[in-house]
Subunit: 138 residues, 2 copies
């Protein structure tokens, strides 16, 4: 992967951050392909940019209202020159509600290049549960 | 994707099933690339086939002892002819311990073809939490 691609992929994470913090579901979903798969922390599976926009707008306006999130790429592997598997970490601060406090998440994202730039074709997100004990591992 | 690839990818899921039910960590990890990324249901990130083998052997011998699991591909998208993004569902029955009962999981797996066949380069697993309410969505 050349430096330009790497910069663009970091910018994609920055765009997710900016969209989240602006509570803008459409801007958030713009970073996904039209037919993207999205699996959230509950194991619910959503398909498509419009669904991702609506779902995020709903949570931005409710449980994640006034929250702040930072997305960053933590690992990149090239599958081919045009397809990348990225691990993305997110640190969320939520001021109120059932997620009040600080939450760390890790996502696996499959990215590929569309005419408009690198986009997320698949995103699978998990809330980090901290030190073992509470729940088993697999 | 041709029929042969699809059959081979279904067989990969069957091999995971067989390895899990034989409590064989090495056989389970054999379906992964040597440098595979694995994110478990707790958001822990493991790297490499050997680590995946050891980690699974440990849970096969403890919290998942005598459990039965069935993996099946629920969706396939081709990124390129050589790289596939698959959604994989797993239905686990665990006879005892903290996970006693039936548990459904959904994983996003990135597969690519190695000389020995299709292998999992990235696996990200989430326990399905059922109907909304208990925990928020994102």
């Amino acid at each position: 992967m050349n430096q330009k691609d790497r910069v663009e992929i970091d910018r994609l994470a920055e765009a997710l951050t900016a969209a989240w913090n602006a509570a803008d579901g459409v801007a958030f979903a713009k970073m996904f392909t039209e037919d993207a798969d999205f699996v959230n922390i509950r194991g619910d599976h959503f398909v498509g940019r419009d669904t991702i926009a609506e779902g995020h707008q709903r949570i931005f306006d409710s449980i994640y209202r006034d929250s702040r999130n930072v997305f960053a790429i933590s690992k990149i592997r090239e599958a081919t020159g045009e397809v990348v598997v990225a691990l993305m970490e997110a640190h969320l601060h939520c001021p109120q509600g059932p997620m009040a406090g600080d939450n760390d998440a890790i996502a696996t994202a499959v990215l590929w290049r569309e005419p408009s730039g690198w986009r997320i074709a698949s995103f699978h997100n998990t809330l980090k549960q901290g030190p073992p004990g509470a729940r088993p591992t697999r």
